[in-house]
């Protein structure tokens, strides 16, 4: 019982990270029908942005207090991620906007490799794990006495995991309401529905697309820094794995749907931890169950869990 609760907690924390990345995948797809495979790398770049701020920008005295250093690292991570996304959009995707759909897709794969290598070259030894500062309360919340097994029966959740979940949920809700309520949000929804008509109504598609990339990258930057704080080390390959999870979450939830991406991410987090605990093969094969579930969902509901209900509405 305790183990189950512990694994549920772990799964939710993992889902929170994946969810923040998945939002970027699904928004970009909703607007320009591009699967931006480089988005996982934006997450990775964000993590290194936060690390760089801590290592090279923050004065010694600032590093002591997490409530000073963490916001600055988050800002740094977001800034770097957004800058990369802007460059990526302007120079890799915009020239290909009217090209066959395969061209930007392949370009995205190329951008992904470029970003990984750029970080490897720019950041010393980024290709092996780099310690990431624990810029948050370095403790865990232990819920005692849930099981009959004595002290081993405690469920413990790292404070940084809790932070990830809270931040992830708040940002998802904010994003949803921004898109549903604001003027730019309406423009985004219009462009997603019918870009040509939206343009006739005076929506500037370039601005909408740039904004979409910026929002997605900012979320990925936050996810990158919080992931680093939680896991306490990063390397230039973290974007690949988490990017694949996030992409899968977006597809599972119905790509194009914000709600679907977040819910899909939590489902994937839970499948990974519970599958690792209870299924054949243990934690080494936990990835398998993610893709088994993905395939099953796609067989019976090709549009994903929320794909049809909300259609493309970024």
């Amino acid at each position: 019982m305790t183990t189950l609760l512990q694994q549920l907690a772990n799964g939710i924390a993992l889902g929170a990270t994946i969810g923040l990345i998945a939002l970027g995948y699904t928004m970009v797809y909703g607007i320009i029908q591009l699967i931006n495979f480089a988005h996982g790398e934006v997450f990775m770049v964000g993590a290194f942005g936060g690390l760089a701020v801590h290592r090279w920008v923050l004065p010694e005295s600032f590093r002591e207090n997490w409530y000073v250093s963490l916001p600055l690292m988050l800002l740094g991570g977001m800034a770097v991620a957004v800058a990369i996304a802007l460059i990526m959009e302007r120079f890799a995707y915009r020239p290909l906007r009217n090209a066959p759909r395969l061209a930007p897709l392949i370009t995205a794969l190329g951008v992904s490799i470029v970003l990984q290598e750029a970080i490897r070259i720019w950041f010393p030894n980024a290709d092996s794990a780099q310690p990431f500062p624990k810029a948050f309360v370095d403790s865990q919340i232990t819920i005692i006495g849930l099981g009959p097994d004595g002290p081993e029966g405690d469920v413990s959740i790292r404070a940084s995991q809790l932070l990830l979940v809270v931040v992830s949920i708040i940002l998802s809700v904010l994003l949803q309401s921004y898109i549903n309520r604001s003027k730019m949000g309406r423009a985004m929804r219009a462009t997603a529905q019918d870009p040509d008509t939206a343009r006739l109504m005076g929506v500037n598609p370039d601005r909408v697309i740039v904004l979409t990339f910026v929002l997605g990258a900012a979320l990925a930057g936050v996810a990158g820094v919080l992931y680093g704080v939680d896991i306490t080390n990063v390397d230039n390959a973290i974007g690949f794995q988490n990017g694949i999870f996030a992409f899968t979450a977006a597809v599972l939830g119905g790509i194009g749907s914000l709600r679907g991406a977040v819910i899909g991410a939590f489902i994937i987090g839970l499948i990974k931890t519970l599958g690792g605990q209870y299924m054949w093969g243990g934690t080494q094969y936990d990835y398998v169950w993610i893709f088994v579930v993905l395939i099953l969902v796609l067989v019976f509901r090709p549009q994903g869990l929320f794909g049809e209900a909300e259609r493309v509405r970024a």
Partner: protein, 407 residues
């Protein structure tokens, strides 16, 4: 040769310091023959193949100098009757291709009796067949890869090259050695095992588990993680109910460090132990905590009683570079060749045909060396199995126990 980069960096830094202090160059080849020896039959050559330049040169020069010391001592003591011995060191630049060239060059010399080297297991792979073709005995002071002597299949070991021997310990003994330490010395009875699914880690953990269980400990759970995993909360939750008092990790430091930290965070403050794959300073910076252990083959030479004479002689000889991690093993390797040569020739004449006899003598060799009693098993591996347990202490690795593994 997994963590040599870090060790080498430290050693190179040390070597640079030394180089700055003195500029008198040591003579590398040959050695002056003692006045009273008969050297009428000419000169025989002991080859060395090691990285004498580049980032591993501190280790390589230690190998070269230590072999040189053995040659000089043999010349002074007239060990090989009628002959003077000379050293022919070749640089392999830790590069297998360069190593093959060095081996080819050495093997052209009809007066070559044997080769001390190499440092890297990868270089040994390309050197072995070339020397074997000419029946030249090779004694490595530093190759730790099991496959070099026993082949890739650990279940059905077959000797790879009749010409290959080594004085250092192989990787696969780390598991059992760790088990003895953890169970007998630390009194751990409930051990969790986590592996990364790769050959190195799986082999280490399997050998560890067998030994630990035979010593009466219980392996309470076995878990596998992905090679690229960073978040171990899932695996830790799976381990926790079995309440282990120690965790053995078969894998490398990039996973082991964070795993150790996350274990502690999850309320399981137990020692993590692993092989030389985690014996790296980065293990600590990634979250390895005080009280964690790692094994590594060999020993800090200064800690061995048997090495005192060697250390004194080496320091007295005034070499510019330190004997480094593999000096004592190289000294023993060279002596195994030289002493076997003396028995083989027994006052007779050297010819290339004698190489087969020399091989047989090395196989049967038994002598007191700097690292202990030197002799070889049926695969050419050393019977002298020296390993060391290191522990994290105040955020640094320090040797906790050096010992000889004896089954």
């Amino acid at each position: 040769m997994r963590n040599q980069t870090v060790k080498a960096t430290v050693l190179v830094a040390g070597a640079l310091l030394l180089a700055a202090c003195g500029t008198n160059k040591t003579e590398s080849g040959g050695g002056t023959s003692g006045a009273g020896c008969d050297t009428s039959k000419g000169t025989l050559v002991v080859g060395v193949i090691a990285p004498l330049s580049g980032e591993l040169s501190a280790l390589g020069l230690g190998i070269q100098n230590s072999a040189d010391l053995a040659v000089k001592e043999a010349n002074e003591k007239c060990t090989v009757k009628g002959y003077k011995l000379a050293l022919d060191p070749q640089d392999d630049q830790k590069n297998p291709q360069q190593g093959a060239q060095a081996a080819t060059k050495l093997s052209q010399d009809p007066n070559l009796v044997g080769v001390v080297g190499t440092l890297n297991s990868s270089v040994a792979q390309s050197v072995q067949p070339i020397l074997a073709q000419k029946n030249i005995v090779q004694v490595s002071p530093a190759n730790t890869s099991d496959a070099l002597s026993k082949g890739e299949n650990a279940a059905a070991p077959t000797r790879q090259f009749p010409t290959y021997f080594r004085t250092c310990t192989v990787d696969s003994l780390q598991g059992p050695f760790a088990a003895k330490f953890l169970v007998e010395k630390q009194g751990k009875k409930k051990i969790a095992i986590v592996t990364d699914g790769l050959t190195y880690g799986e082999g280490l953990a399997a050998a560890f588990a067998t030994k630990a269980e035979s010593l009466g400990a219980q392996v309470v759970t076995r878990q596998k993680i992905g090679e690229k995993d960073t978040d171990f909360s899932g695996v830790i939750a799976a381990i926790k109910p079995s309440a282990p008092d120690a965790l053995y990790f078969g894998g490398q430091y990039p996973q082991a460090g964070p795993l150790s930290k996350q274990l502690k965070d999850a309320g399981l403050n137990i020692p993590v132990m692993g092989g030389d794959g985690i014996y790296d300073d980065k293990f600590i910076s990634l979250g390895g905590k005080d009280g964690d252990y790692a094994t590594s083959v060999g020993a800090p030479t200064e800690s061995l009683d048997s090495a005192k004479a060697f250390v004194d002689a080496y320091n007295k000889a005034g070499y510019q570079d330190k004997f480094a991690a593999y000096g004592a093993f190289s000294y023993d390797a060279a002596n195994a060749i030289i002493n076997s040569l003396a028995t083989t020739l027994n006052g007779g004449d050297w010819s290339e045909a004698k190489r087969a006899d020399l091989l047989a003598s090395v196989g049967k060799y038994s002598g007191q060396g700097a690292t202990g009693t030197i002799s070889f098993d049926e695969f050419g591996d050393s019977n002298n199995k020296v390993l060391t347990v290191y522990s994290v202490n105040g955020g640094k690795w320090s040797p906790a126990e050096t010992g000889t593994y004896s089954g």
